[in-house]
Amino acid sequence: MSVTTTTMSDPGLAARYQAIESSGWGRKVKLVQPRNFTFWVMTFVFIAGVLNMVLEFGPNLEAYSTPITQGVVWFTVYGLAIAWIINRLDRYSPIPGRIRLLAFLWGGIAATFGLAIHYNQAIFALLAKTQGISFSNDWKAALSAPISEEIAKGLAVVVVIGVAPRIVRTATDGFIIGAFSGLAFQIFEDVIYVLQTSQGAFGQTGPGINTAITRTILGFSGHWMWTAIFCAGFVYLIGRPLQPARPGLGILMMLLTPVGHFLWNGAPALLGNPSQAVLTLVMIVFTAVIAVVFVAFYRLTLPPEQQTVRDVLQPEVDAGVITGDELDALVARYRQRRTFIKAAGGHAERRTRKHVLEAAHDLGDQIAEARGAETDRVRHARAEIARIRA
């Protein structure tokens, strides 16, 4: 195969093409791939997960219909709110909706019911048999979940690399895939917890509501943050086209997750049975620490994503469609972006700047989808920017 690498007359365009090709931005994804081995394994675990979910939930639907309905309704709303946050985090070269959905369903169905639940149940029983019931009661969550759940949720990034390798190009991609997988795992687990609380209270619904409130507050820094860190760590470990391998960092991130999960689940026993007030305080501080670590790792992953947006849109700066400052704001972090918008002056000007940035990102999406071609949609996206400015 002869590879003709040409020197392009316009280095800006060359960088744009390179960025589109290497980032996978705007790539369409086909999920059904009969020749893809991972596709078949994934499908198999999904079917096993759905069947097991029906077995676990099915008999309870009639007996505990109220708590299950309350849990499903509340955690759906909660899940949508966090999904909105994750989508905001994925604002540079976004992952296709199908892949986000795949990661979500993997975490909620395949990871939970197809994998983790079997392991957890067996380990709980094994601990009680070999170490005693009290030891099992106190430590089973800390000794099972950090391994089983982190790996099960984290496999989302392995599955996506298997079925859509062109999509996972940076650690940020791993981060977002992990966040969706972890989020789904979390909300399915939350519904199970509400059910279990009701089961342990003769079917009364009140205690389940307390569980839902607790899990809502403490879940803000829950599975979705852990799994985001784990999956980004996996990308660092193996390296991807836009992310040179950094095995040390990758292993650190992948270990941090189960260790943190162990400390969280084992807190009551580790702290020597503290009072409820002390335990709550520790958990709130822990929640805050996790959120800070999450943001720090997110920022760490960003540079390749930001560079992609810059490369794709730089020719638009050269052509005068957007300004250099606007591009800087577009690739900048949230706060710098806000500062740029605020600096516009009055309300109307700030609004315009905000809309221009959003429209510029739309233009980037269209250019990437068209693989750099001048299509009607690209021209329209460009015209929109002009219209907003007018």
Partner: protein, 241 residues
């Protein structure tokens, strides 16, 4: 990893676009093995390995080990704050439940204690939770749930029987006789239990399910266990000096 994901631009863009990428499902001939894309093997194998290990190997190890935890004389199960307790029958197998006087463990909170003891083809399952109502209402609730879950079929339930524990606290019991299993659901409600200064009622249910062939000699054990479910508020220790 996937070496063929070249980031080189193979062709000049002809001025205004990249060439179309290869279709996702197109497998280059040199990457085929048994009809599959070689490059997609490792992620699938990783997932498959985890599935085999967790869904088959670990549960198989668990199944190979018997639960052997026989109750010895003097064992008392803590159903909450060491105040709500129950005495399991000697020789039965304690499969769930925390014993009194265990050191260095997270104590059992009132309203959360559980126990399960088994013998031969009989299971004696105790659940506790705060319950705002009497023992009859609790029994109705437990039977409703059992009926919905098909663990006890309503049609098999006979009339209820009044019972008392060893302290004389009244409870109520509903025997059932089905084709597959026989047994009863019994409930007590211990009123005005002191929970961190608040007085609450704690409900207890004991569900006994036996195969119809279960040995009748265990009936005395079952009755004794049922009567042994008691609540004694711990004496408030006086501060000396």
């Amino acid at each position: 990893m996937t070496t063929t994901e070249s980031t080189t631009i193979d062709q000049p863009p002809g001025g205004d676009a990249l060439p179309l990428p290869p279709p996702d499902d197109w497998v280059p001939v040199e990457e085929r093995v048994l009809g599959f894309d070689k490059r997609t093997l490792w992620p699938g194998l990783v997932v498959l390995a985890v599935w085999v290990l967790w869904v088959h190997v670990v549960p198989a190890i668990n199944d190979a080990i018997d639960f052997d935890n026989p109750v010895v004389a003097g064992d008392v199960v803590d159903l909450g704050n060491e105040e709500l307790t129950f005495v399991p029958a000697v020789g039965w197998n304690l499969e769930n439940g925390v014993l009194l006087d265990e050191e260095g463990i997270v104590p059992v909170a009132l309203g959360s204690g559980v126990a399960l003891v088994t013998e031969d083809a009989i299971g004696f399952d105790v659940q506790t939770a705060f319950w705002d109502g009497d023992a009859e209402a609790l029994l109705d609730q437990v039977l409703d749930i059992d009926d919905a879950l098909d663990t006890v079929v309503a049609a098999d339930v006979q009339d209820t029987i009044a019972i008392v524990n060893v302290d004389g606290v009244p409870g109520v019991l509903a025997p059932f006789r089905g084709t597959e299993e026989v047994g009863f659901v019994a409930t007590y409600v211990f009123e005005d239990v002191d929970v961190n200064g608040t007085e609450l009622d704690v409900g207890v249910s004991a569900t006994v399910i036996a195969e119809p062939t279960a040995d009748a000699e265990f009936a005395d054990d079952v009755v004794a266990m049922l009567r042994s479910i008691t609540y004694h508020q711990m004496a408030v220790e006086e501060d000396e000096g």
